[in-house]
């Protein structure tokens, strides 16, 4: 009897030793991910010091002159850059507002569809735009919204309206950017709400029906309150996106005619910083955006955790 127990403990000990000896493999396995992250994420973070320099490529980071906060002072005094920050905020907030309403409405309505084939085919079609790139969609919308030959303006003309230069007029550009973004994402975004809707206890609806509540009342008193946690989580997490107005989309749709309202931080950094060669200035704007974004992400996560108990790890 005793020997059996002894054998057991010996076996366990040996197993532990084998695994401990083996554990250096684990470090080897995670090494590629660490090296790549170090190289392509952390080393560029070191490049942020350029934001406090007057960076010259031939002098490098070690040789360029330090200018302290001059780039940031310039950033806030230069009318173009403050305009760009406002543009970014405006576009991002409009997208967030209309995007949430459209996505939520669609989720609620598609959830009411009883016919399976309608439901499935509608979902198949509305998810599709999410997977197409803005290069492709940019091409499609440029064709579709052409002031003279585009299908949309042909239709407006047939109805007796004047043609609209959607991508050349500043106000219409805003409408187009928000509209096409909502168009692209409302279907795919509804998945998370549909998952929450599927989780509502059907007994609640049965009880409400017995009490004589109609569809409308059921939606108002059961469905919407059940979705509140999901909505809160989505909104707080998207707080971090208010300085991300969608580089891919804007870059594929904009042109000099609409810089006044359509130019955003990322396109500005690309044009002025990277293409224009103002590396330090571009980095400073980028840093401003990253820091604000980081504060909002951390704040958003804290808030989401407090309000809805959402935790990623």
């Amino acid at each position: 009897m005793q020997t059996v127990i002894q054998q057991e403990t010996i076996k366990k000990k040996r197993e532990r030793i084998v695994r401990r000896r083996d554990s250096w493999h684990l470090y080897l396995m995670i090494l590629p991910a660490i090296v790549l992250t170090l190289l392509f994420v952390y080393v560029p973070m070191g490049g942020i010091v350029m934001a406090f320099q007057e960076y010259k490529p031939y002098l490098g980071i070690t040789g360029s002159k330090w200018v302290g906060l001059d780039q940031f002072v310039f950033l806030f005094e230069y009318p173009d850059s403050s305009q760009v920050i406002w543009n970014t905020l405006r576009i991002a907030v409009l997208k967030l507002f209309f995007g949430t309403i459209a996505t939520l409405t669609f989720a609620l309505l598609i959830n009411e569809v009883r016919k399976k084939w309608v439901r499935n085919s509608v979902q198949t079609f509305v998810f599709l735009p999410h997977f197409l790139s803005w290069v492709v969609l940019g091409g499609i919308f440029i064709e579709l919204l052409d002031p003279k030959n585009g299908l949309v303006n042909q239709l407006l003309g047939a109805l007796g309206f004047e043609s609209i230069f959607f991508l050349g007029d500043n106000n219409w550009f805003l409408v187009t950017v928000v509209g096409t973004e909502v168009w692209k994402e409302f279907g795919y975004g509804s998945i998370i709400f549909l998952a929450a809707l599927a989780g509502i206890n059907p007994a609640l609806y049965e009880a409400a029906q017995l009490d004589g509540a109609n569809k409308w009342k059921q939606m108002w008193h059961i469905t919407l309150p059940s979705l509140v946690p999901t909505i809160v989580v989505c909104l707080t997490l998207s707080l971090s996106q208010v300085l991300n107005a969608g580089f891919d989309q804007i870059f594929n749709l904009y042109n000099p005619l609409v810089y006044a309202k359509g130019d955003i931080i990322d396109t500005f950094v690309y044009r002025i910083g990277l293409i224009g060669g103002n590396y330090s200035f571009g980095t400073a704007i980028g840093l401003f955006k990253s820091v604000v974004g980081l504060i909002l992400i951390v704040g958003g996560y804290r808030l989401a955790y407090k309000v809805a108990g959402y935790k990623i790890f």
Binding site: A33, V126, G139, I192, I297, K311
Partner: protein, 291 residues
């Protein structure tokens, strides 16, 4: 079973119609461009093409595929997507395997620190310009690796895979270790085969992401070496001046050709879409499973 009230029946009719309308709104732009690409140039020039080709022909596709640059760009996109897919799955899965062990006796020392290291990398980065300078300093300018290496580690997918690994039954790996397997064998023979759903999901997302990405191609590659999406970007531009003066036939032909080019760019995604559609809902559900 209660009879359905009339008002409710009307709601369902209107609602179904509205849903089908939305579905149409989402695909009609694509169908319009397909129609233009397949129509004859007089039909396109007179703006009579809507959602069905007029004077069906494949001339614009022939013309688009004659372009050597397009073929070269397709090949670069294929290479880039394949390399990113292979490396991305391998590197992220290996790291996810290690992190799925947690920080205890089975895991690695400094677990919390390494998790923090990846989380910070997800939330914060140096931005476009420092990354560009680094890639050029590394001598990767105009190399396919400039398109692949910077985006290999994807912390979001890493977490997704890790959560899946964590949910696998512990007994299986215990048994394998008892039988003398090492970590590589457990990873390759046990974890990977059991994780095919999550691998397929992440793989499909990676393919879509890499195929669609165009900015890196634009800033890291010379013009004759760009991937397809970047090439498309370079040929599609908003016509800044109003082309109201006598639109000549050649210009109109361009509309068909650029439509064909756009669709060639979207083709792999469209072909993958039926498969994608089955997986992505699952993928999001998998991602949402927290312990």
């Amino acid at each position: 079973m209660q009879p359905i009230p009339v008002s409710e029946r009307w709601f369902h009719i209107v609602n179904n119609a509205f849903m089908l309308f939305l579905a149409a709104i989402c695909v009609l732009p694509l169908i319009h461009v397909v129609s233009i690409s397949l129509s004859s140039s007089p039909a396109v020039a007179s703006n009579s093409v809507t959602f069905w080709p007029i004077g069906l022909n494949f001339y614009s596709y022939e013309k688009a595929l004659e372009d050597d640059q397009l073929i070269r760009s397709v090949w670069i996109s294929v290479q880039r997507t394949a390399l990113s897919l292979g490396l991305g799955l391998l590197v992220n899965c290996l790291a996810a395997y290690v992190l799925s062990k947690g920080g205890g006796r089975d895991g690695i020392a400094g677990y919390k620190g390494i998790v923090g290291f990846f989380i910070v990398a997800m939330l914060f980065n140096g931005g476009m310009i420092p990354t560009y300078l680094l890639v050029t300093k590394l001598g990767l300018y105009n190399s396919i690796w400039a398109l692949v290496l910077p985006s290999v580690v994807n912390v979001f997918y890493l977490i997704l895979i890790m959560n899946f690994f964590k949910a696998l039954p512990k007994e299986l790996e215990e048994a394998a270790f008892m039988d003398g397997a090492n970590h590589w064998q457990v990873f390759y023979r046990l974890f990977l085969p059991l994780s095919l759903p999550v691998l397929a999901t992440v793989g499909l997302f990676l393919v879509v992401m890499e195929w669609n990405e165009w900015l890196m191609g634009q800033i890291y590659m010379k013009a004759d070496n760009v991937p397809l999406s970047t090439f498309l970007k370079s040929i599609i531009a908003v016509p800044v001046i109003d082309a109201s003066n006598a639109a000549d036939a050649a210009k109109m032909n361009n509309r068909s050709i650029s439509s064909a080019q756009i669709l060639i760019g979207a083709l792999p995604i469209l072909l993958m879409y039926p498969v994608l559609q089955r997986f992505f809902t699952k993928g999001i559900v998998i991602g949402a499973v927290k312990e």
